[in-house]
Amino acid sequence: MFEGRSPILELQAITKSFGGVEALRGVDFALHPGEIHGLVGENGAGKSTLMKIIAGVHTEFSGRFLIDGQETHFRSARDAHAAGIAMVHQELSVAPDLTVAENVFLGNQPTNRLGLVQWRRMAREAGEQLARFGIDVDPMSRLGDLPIGLQQLIEIARVLFSGARIVILDEPTSALSPPEVERLFSTLRRLREEGTGIVFISHFIEDILRVSDTVTVFRNGRKVAETAASATTKGALIEAMIGRGGEALEHSYSDDLMLPRPSDSSVVLKVDQLSLARSLKDISFEARAGEVLGIYGFMGCGQQELSRILFGKLRPDGGTLVVEGKPKTFASTAAARRAGVALVPESRRAMLFHQEPVYKNISISILDRISALLLKPTQERDIAKRQVEQLQIRPPVVGLDLGMLSGGNQQKVALAKWLTYPPKLLVLCEPTRGMDVGAKNDVINIIRDLRAKGLAIIVLSTEPETVLSLADRILVLKRGALVREFANEPVSKDRLLEAA
């Protein structure tokens, strides 16, 4: 549909390598004004690398880079910004202690002739911009006080309204609730009318198909397909992404799924009347050996706080934790670990050492089991090699710095560090977020194996698919309170969304 119109952005034969590994191989890419261009591909397929080249983050690469038909070379992200390119990164980058208005105008506050900030004008204009986006908040309230989903929307709004001609959105919908996604999409469509070129990266293929005009598929650093969104299907895209029959892997979960009868195995964790300031109210539940307990809720419902309390990172205001019959108050994460509790938080950055080799990342949590005083590097590497083999971590080189691995493989390393000496209770936050179908499936299988070994597992997620694909029993958390338990009954995505 854009044939004959000249692209605002055109990349030709882009090749980029990191330390001898080619992340992009001869990729062509074009973006037209008024186009929403969806990008899909497994983790490590090269999507993010390409976007970082466009946004001026990676400045060394080979190939031609044209803007409005003019060959250009950015030397920094600032150059890209000046050329009208803006990017929303996957991770939230806002200033929580500043007001909503200050965040909207970050680095760009309206000033009078003396250089003083015009607060009233800033608040008014911020309010107007957000209203266009369907967000109704007091522009002078502190951003950090708002729910995470809303913070993310405000960040997106800031970028969308910054006047950029080319906007890149990297996984913008993963933290948003369905109505928030709707608002985002209607805004994107309006910007398209105004002639903005938009690149939209997501693992939610339905989202891509709903909002994009064109879809490009990446695999192993190559562009393997480019089609009009209206001319393809989810199954076809998945097949192109992973290069094998995808239908069997992706379950839609729109039909009812029958949860099993609750197990009567021993109770590993008993939580009673747990509460935390404004985040959690009277939470009580049990987790049993050999069972996966799913806890589902929208972003900001208190999942994160709950997981931190279970691992001794946060101290609750009230309530008790009983692990295997013994009441516990964890003074530190070390105490929780000794009691047999393990946590994999939602952010890989928060639990991995990017500048250290893979084997040190895997051994860090179990060092006290294999060495009293002196390190045993050979044993450490052997343990790491076994884990790398079992979890099929790629590349299978335990001496490689962790930062060289793709996101999905990093997530496997995050799991691997707990598995040599399995804990009694494993708490997983968003275990498959931001992962491609293949890696997601690997992680699901690993978790099922652990359940079979008799671990009590708690999976907390804001994605219904994640909970539905793993859990034997599901609790729904809404604004800090448990509102519904699904056990021994049919459940579906619709029913979960309804309860939350």
Binding site: F18, G19, G20, H58, F311, K313, S332, T333, A334, A336, R337, R338, A342, L343, P345, R349, A350, M351, L352, F353, H354, Q355, E356, K360, I364, S365, L367, D368, S371, A372, L373, L374, L375, D401, G403, M404, K417
Partner: protein, 342 residues
Amino acid sequence: MASSETVPAAARRARGLAPFLRSQMRNIAPFLTLIILSAFFALSSPSFATLDNLGNILTQVSVTGIIAVGLTFVILCAEIDLSIASIANVTGIAVAYFTLQESYVNIPNIPLPGAAAILLAILLCAALGLVNALGLTVIGIPSFIMTLAMMQIAAGISALLVRGQIAYKVPGLITTLGSGSIGGIPWIVIVAAIMLLGGHLVLTYTRFGRYVYMVGGNREAAEYSGLNVKLILGAVMVISAVCSGIGGMLGVAHFGSAQQNEFDTYLLDSIAAVVVGGTSLFGGRGGIGNTIVGLFVLGVLNNGLDHVNIDSFLKILIRGVILLAALIINVYAQRLREKAAE
């Protein structure tokens, strides 16, 4: 055919070498600095490059070296200890305070047997380190501020102990280690070498050493891996204080007197040695090897400037400029490494 294949292979090797050198810049730059400085002074002055003068340099950096061992642990954890010189001073004064002084020394002190005096002095510096540790981990005062307060507290204790006087006598063991020598090698150099080696072994081969690097590399990840981060941070503050105390006791014996403000220059020297050597101020990178190179850079610089007949007031300025250059390299090396890891 063969030639068309060898060219890309060579190109690939070259591409692999540059990022490696970039990632190693924090180790290479200090070493190059040392070689350049040594070469410069050796060419400028015939008395510099002699075995005797090497002995001088080693002796001159020994006290700094002993203090810098503990400081290396602290900086690897991305913390700082500003109380090292004050703690060295108070420990040196304490060990003299518990030793019988000559009759003309007018200090109301408490003479004890030598072993008891040494033990009490060590306990004192360990206790001060523990206060640093508790302030940092339990109360949550940033180490910069906590140890700034401790700097003053330790100076205050020193002042109360000596009351403006000078003490001269320390226990026999300390006198030997501080100012004696064996087979022509000063004991203080041997002690410094043993402590540096010990620090290196602990950091490289023990579980605790690994924890220090991991806490420095990513504190949040260390906590999410179930490490007791506060315990590790507390331990490095105590280690730093005890190393400073040992340096202080031997220093007092080396100088032949114990008095107020005797160690003031050692704060900057020790921090400079660690940082000039290339240990990252952001934590997690570097080690005792870097500190040793840093000590030699400072030692060669201080000693060499004496040999080339330079205005002694200019020396201070030159040292400041060298420190600034090292800081620039330190920050730059971190950036290059992050780029290489990308």
